[in-house]
């Protein structure tokens, strides 16, 4: 009944990269940063060109049929026995936790379960599989971390982001009040229940600003888009950045030699 223990694999030669549609279409720099961080760790990154979306928007809206139809062709995109890394707790959670539910009792069950077992959130993978060592090359900055609810509760990686940021000497990590509370994104929730979502993201933004963060570093683009989008529209002094972009930017964007 307690969550199953996560057994990390040994550091592999290759990984598959599942970008997620949000990263692909809106925040490709986060995807590129992730790929390059992995490569810097000596891992070859395979990017299946036929990948689209994990299916979560339809699934969490109750439209399992449509979700399944989106996922099925993608179950065959990762034929080698390499880990699949995802730069999002939420899409990672969909693949790792919900694919087995979605496909239980279907002809794709076995495939979905195998894929789920190979799926890792990117920062978790960098820290606990690659044992990455980061060398900060940036100027002093105050940031806060927002770990998405799925990263925290489905992927169990609440400690990962702060530990990675802790490796960066010039980065001061401040903690906002109620750090573990949801930002109010919730995928389609933000448009189905816009007023509640607004109340939540307002509180979240104010807590981050009050903590003195210039930038909120997030595990998930969804939360980041929500918080930073709210801050921008309401002229609050807060920027958002995906944690992977941030790590890549801080560590000199290359082999630690500080490329311009």
């Amino acid at each position: 009944m307690t969550d199953p223990i996560k057994l990390y694999p040994a550091k592999p030669e290759k990984v598959y990269f599942f970008a997620t549609c949000l990263v692909d279409l809106f925040y490709p720099d986060a995807g590129m940063a992730g790929i390059q961080l992995l490569e810097r760790e000596g891992i070859e990154v395979l990017f299946p060109q036929d990948q689209t979306c994990c299916g979560q928007p339809a699934f969490s809206s109750g439209f399992n049929d449509q979700a399944r139809d989106v996922v099925v062709p993608q179950l065959d995109l990762f034929p080698g026995d390499y880990p699949i890394v995802v730069p999002a707790g939420s899409c990672g959670g969909m693949m790792r936790k919900h694919y087995p539910e979605l496909f239980a009792g279907t002809p794709w069950q076995e495939k979905a379960e195998a894929l789920a077992a190979r799926t890792w959130e990117l920062t978790d993978f960098l820290l606990n599989v690659c044992h990455i060592r980061l060398k900060d090359q940036g100027k002093p900055v105050k940031v806060a971390m927002h770990t998405s609810c799925s990263a925290r509760r489905e992927m169990g990686i609440a400690e990962v982001g702060p530990r990675l940021l802790g490796q960066l000497g010039q980065v001061e990590l401040v903690e906002q009040a109620r750090a573990e509370e949801c930002c109010g994104f919730g995928g389609t929730f933000a448009v189905r229940h816009p007023e509640i979502s607004e109340a939540m993201v307002n509180d979240k933004t104010e807590a981050l600003v009050a903590a003195g963060a210039e930038t909120v570093v997030a595990t998930d683009c969804g939360c980041m888009m929500n918080i930073a989008g709210f801050a921008e529209k309401n002229q609050r002094p807060l920027k958002g950045q995906h944690i992977v972009s941030f790590l890549w930017e801080r560590t000199g964007c290359s082999d630690g030699e500080g490329e311009a």
Partner: protein, 479 residues
Amino acid sequence: MTQTSTLSDVREFHPRVRTALDNPQIRSNFRNAMDGLMGKRQKAFDGWDLDKLRDLGAAVRLRALARLPELLERLEANCIRQGIQVHWAETGEQACEIIGDICKARQARTVIKGKSMVSEEMELNHYLEEQGIEALESDLGEYIVQLAEETPSHIIMPAIHKNTTEISDLMHERTGTERSHDVDYLTASARQQLREKFMTADVGISGVNFAVAQTGTLCLVENEGNGRLTTTVPPCHIAVTGIEKVVEHLEDISPLLALLTRSATGQHITTYVNMISGPRRDAELDGPEAVHLVLVDSGRSSVYQDPELMDTLRCIRCGACMNHCPVYTRVGGHAYGTTYPGPIGKILMPHLLGLDSTRDLPSASTLCGACGEVCPVRIPIPTLLQRLRKESVDGDRLRPSVVRGHGSKRHWKEVLAWNAFRWIFASPGRYRLLGMLMTRFRAFTPSRVGAWSRYRSAPKPAARTLHQLVNERAKGGGR
């Protein structure tokens, strides 16, 4: 204005949410109260292996539910052996009638009530009033809510939506109590008025926290002593409870109590733990001469039919899920329009009222998982919400929906939208085309995209998709 869970009322979810969000008093009352409760809970479990205890709590509840029909029969037999008269009610209306008949047979004029959410569910007070029987709530929170002619906004703290000033004003208006910010004074005033009623009431009605099949014992926890008075002073005690509250052994109560009081109010134990095992015996001086147990189904056995949804019945009514829910904290209990608000309400009420009248509840969650994380008996609340979302739109042809009123949220516009999503995202070619169009025409991206941009700036598509960037890089286009 009396708030009841009528169909039209439950459906008005969005307007009620707006009203609640626009009320700064409601917002701060709930935020402060929930912050306090979360802190107390955390402290109370300090030093406990909470994961293990929750495993135990879940196992105890699961075992009881696995043999529910048999345990209920044993409970009935052992209660009868102890002199407790047992009644079965299929619906809330039937339960009301049973209780009304018991009262009438005793020619009861006044009833004093301990806290009972099942009685709220079946609107017992309303029924008794119609029968000319006065029913007075004796739990302080319920007393306040009754004075205000409202319904509870929280299952453990019914009047949590009110602050001291509001309560003081209310008591002044309704009972003539002098206005005061002294909580002790207000409590003493209510106590005085209630004490008289305890002494003169013909019948006491209470809920039940756990009903022990093996011994026929009814366990009732409370902090004000009103439960003890309700169940011992009037000549007749009627306990009313849902059929799911049964546990097998007396020992089962121990882990459940440890979880319940800490999860609910952060207490190691409540001030009163009542173990009721029948009416006054011959040589005894105290206690009622008659004890009745009314076991209410009211939709529960239909939940029981489904192995996944059955998990809903594990609930021990601690309220921790609502205390930790970011949505409940913002909108408060009344916004839900249901007897049980918050996460547990969202997964329970569709069974009691039908998904047609509760169709906005399953989606009113970010699926953040805070509720599931604190549930003392490990009800997978987010998973069940997901299940009900699917049922509300009949979204899975492989797994037919079973909940009453399923499919009522299915709207052709939304179906069309998800079909379009499928048409694009199930095809790598079409998806890449979408990426190409979005990047190429990003200058024309609308700055207003529905409800999203009412409160946030709209995201802008990237100049190049990651697909394109990776491709260019592979072709030696540098990085």
